[in-house]
Symmetry: C2
Amino acid sequence: MDPDRQPPSLRGGSGVPGGRRKQRVSMADVAKLAGVSSQTVSRVSNGHPSVTGTTREQVLAAMRQLGYRPNSAARALRYGQFNTIGVILFNLDSTGNSRTVEAIATHAAAEGYAITLIPIDVPTQDNVLGAFTRLDELAVDAVIAIMEIHLLDAGTVKLPPDTHIVVVVDSDAGDRYSVVDTDQAEGTRLAVRHLLDLGHHTVWHVTGPETSFAGQRRAHAWRLTLEEAGRPVPPPLHGDWSAESGYAAGLRLADEPSCTAVFASNDQMALGLLRAFHERGRPVPAEISVVGFDDLADAACFIPPLTTVHQDFAEVGRRCVQGVLRQIRGEAASRPGTDLVPTRLVIRQSTAPPPS
Amino acid sequence: MDPDRQPPSLRGGSGVPGGRRKQRVSMADVAKLAGVSSQTVSRVSNGHPSVTGTTREQVLAAMRQLGYRPNSAARALRYGQFNTIGVILFNLDSTGNSRTVEAIATHAAAEGYAITLIPIDVPTQDNVLGAFTRLDELAVDAVIAIMEIHLLDAGTVKLPPDTHIVVVVDSDAGDRYSVVDTDQAEGTRLAVRHLLDLGHHTVWHVTGPETSFAGQRRAHAWRLTLEEAGRPVPPPLHGDWSAESGYAAGLRLADEPSCTAVFASNDQMALGLLRAFHERGRPVPAEISVVGFDDLADAACFIPPLTTVHQDFAEVGRRCVQGVLRQIRGEAASRPGTDLVPTRLVIRQSTAPPPS
DNA sequence: GTCGCCTATGTTTACGTAAACATAGCGCCG
DNA sequence: CGGCGCTATGTTTACGTAAACATAGGCGAC
């Protein structure tokens, strides 16, 4: 056929001159071997009914012999869709994000969709916009964005109106997008009520970073729950999700004699609190109770095991995929709206009634 | 054109009924508006030099006006490559994996490659084989596999010989594949030597699961280091990476009076150890020293802050991408081999000399 | 028995891009 | 001042797939 082809340098690598690789077995090849037209091969490949048993056998045999695999680029071109969902996010570090992404990938795979990851290293609006622009050229049918809305906002404004199907996590953009999220308010209520019910007069709070919508909502719900109960609202301490920041907050709270209960906006910061209280000789839960948020796998092995709000990240991921597929398939009930995943309180050993 | 086609399901942006087809602006559209041939549009789009300034301006203006975006499926079909790297793995939960994936995604993006995630829910050989088969139809130029080799093995054997460029993490298949990995042996040596140098007579070990190659290598290096130093090798305790399993091991070790130093195969299990020792009144590090592996972000806030071996997951991800790109580009030095990323010991407060 | 319909298969075409080839203008040099 | 060569652009074609359209037999109904 073409004996003077390139050495073994694979796959027509970028700009290798002269090296056109055939390499991939196409329907035409299979058709030739099976002695049918390529259209018949296509029909077999897609399970079309009007192919005789014997013909189908021949074609299948030829496919096996040649190791035929459909070319997804050609299919995508033909069909105008890619069977791929883009996931755009800032980092995979946060337990929540990675678990959510994993669930998304798993459920998408079950529906025949692949996941393309678009990470944004530095969360500036420019970068987000850039990511969306790149997405536009990317082989993606829809996008799931895991990020705060104020960043998403700037990014989408300039997008061609109907370019993308978008589902958002961690945002309040329910009026414009489909939003899926953990029910932050409910989870926070559970945590704060639990502490109040134990007899604590009020509950202190270590917040997440200001840029986090989830963090804001938890802080808001914390305040609201206290106010509803007619309790004083202590000044919140500001954290950044990291255990380190929780530790810093804990050192300050340890010196606050009136503080007997703290709600941390995530488990990592709660871990920092535990360390600070431990170092300052303020036993948990005897003197101070601590509640977290997330229910990390490790939370059960903190010292003491942490009472926390369990988030069902897998379910969040599942619903994201569901929402995206609904829209791709043009089903109704895909209008903007917010889909809240319930939480539950996991009571371990970091909470107890206040010292008498 | 064809009003009785399928309902509105296809592609139509947000499933707006009755409306969206065509949708995508093609080069032909831009060409018509700009009054040039589509080939000229292509040339502008690809930055080809032989286009006059004025023509280029007109084309660019038309592109902007129509919101043109190149169609990646068509490009992929034309070029025979996708600018996409597949990442196949079992779970994103483990900190290491998610950080590695993130680094892979970031570096790949910098090189103009997207990442497609192929998760395998249950790690059976069948599933792995299935994933590779699916990969074959997927729009992917190469694969990075993050998994134990014994699973990969069965999966690859049946693959058409040169279908894929593969780089493997967490495996010893350096003779057949390009392997990138943390230098488990070195890290383990650092940990064990540190404890011996503090004066401990020997070091106990809590292993990872038997299916983990990284776990095996750490266990092996632990044994070797002790033997080299002429120390007795206590029976290893078997864990499964989880804090829970570390806790269980810790309860047993707490009753072992001769045990003054433990090397846990990861930080989570070390956390479990800390909890067990705390509950059994065996103060760390006064009575028992503990060293972990990974250097989780939280490890600095354990009680006490954990001495551990730092893994540079970002670097692992970077080298994976590098290795893949080298092969895609057909550069030399891309033969099978093992590329080890160095570790370093981070000394915090969970280690001290043994009680005298 | 003949007509018409239905089924299995083949042929044409389009999807969007870009390489390869073709052409037309222009300037430079002899 | 005429031809050569270069440059800017247009035209053709191919990538692999699958819908749409075309055709050729076979079988049942009258």
